[in-house]
């Protein structure tokens, strides 16, 4: 297959000069994806009955439910766990399909912005309601 050189190395000349090989962050993300998957699973099971209970309720009922500290804590933990899982999950998807360097970097930044913004907006709403606002 190799026509340009006799070398069997998969690394590009630029990579070799820059001394770059594996990013060495792959297993870290793999592990974090598993840990957050487990916490997602546990927290969804805890939060599901709460959310079902709020189905069809009016504003007052929902505010009263979210006013319970245990409910608020469970939802906050779920949101944190979900947003971390979302961020590294989408990062994998972007790295798989977006190959142009500029678009990839922009997409990765947008991914960080989106997941952090969604997480903080949700957390603020839960805290505001829970603190009686």
């Amino acid at each position: 297959m190799s026509t340009s050189s006799g070398s069997t190395s998969m690394r590009t000349p630029r990579r070799r000069v820059a001394g770059l090989g594996s990013a060495r962050s792959g297993t870290g993300h793999f592990w974090l994806q598993r840990v957050t998957a487990l916490s997602n699973l546990i927290l969804v099971v805890i939060c599901l009955p709460i959310v079902i209970g709020m189905a069809g309720q009016g504003h007052a009922g929902v505010v009263a439910t979210l006013g319970n500290p245990l409910v608020a804590i469970a939802l906050l933990l779920l949101l944190l766990s979900v947003c971390m899982h979302m961020r590294i999950g989408m990062q994998v998807v972007i790295e798989d399909y977006v190959h142009a360097e500029g678009a990839k970097v922009l997409a990765l930044i947008a991914n960080s912005f989106f997941t952090i913004a969604v997480g903080f907006a949700g957390a603020f709403a839960i805290l505001k309601i829970s603190f009686g606002g």
């Binding site: 487990l38 699973l41 939802l75 979900v82 989408m90 949700g122 709403a125």
Partner: protein, 130 residues
């Protein structure tokens, strides 16, 4: 691309005959991406509840419309399917379940389980709502 090495390409999707395990892998990723944006639904609902009763009623009305319910049913199915797919990955992480029978069985359990549990979920919601 400048500086790109001539790396061998691995065979891709169009080479393979579609198989259930392969479809489950693809659907796991698609549901993951859908859930990524679906989290917005939960956060919009929470922010509306934190804003005012009027804002909350608007969002609740939107979610309660037939198209809103359709999206919520799809969202719940995606969540359950992705969760079951995740459990399948946990089993694989232990080194078990890679045999032809086991992986085929787990693929069937994932799709069957996700549809069954989604129906069960909405029956429960319907009963609670009265």
């Amino acid at each position: 691309m400048a500086g790109a090495a001539e790396r061998p390409l691995s065979p891709h999707l169009q080479i393979y005959r579609p198989m259930l395990t392969m479809m489950m892998s693809i659907v796991h990723r698609i549901t993951g991406v859908a859930l990524y944006f679906g989290t917005l639904l939960l956060v919009i609902w929470l922010v509306a509840a934190a804003s005012s009763p009027a804002a909350f009623d608007t969002v609740n009305g939107l979610y309660g419309s037939w198209i809103g319910l359709l999206v919520l049913v799809g969202y719940s199915w995606a969540l359950i399917h992705h969760a079951l797919g995740g459990i399948r990955h946990f089993i694989w992480d232990t080194g078990a379940g890679f045999g032809p029978e086991a992986r085929e069985w787990m693929a069937r359990a994932t799709i069957g389980g996700s549809i069954g549990l989604t129906i069960l979920l909405w029956i429960i919601i319907w009963l609670v709502k009265g």
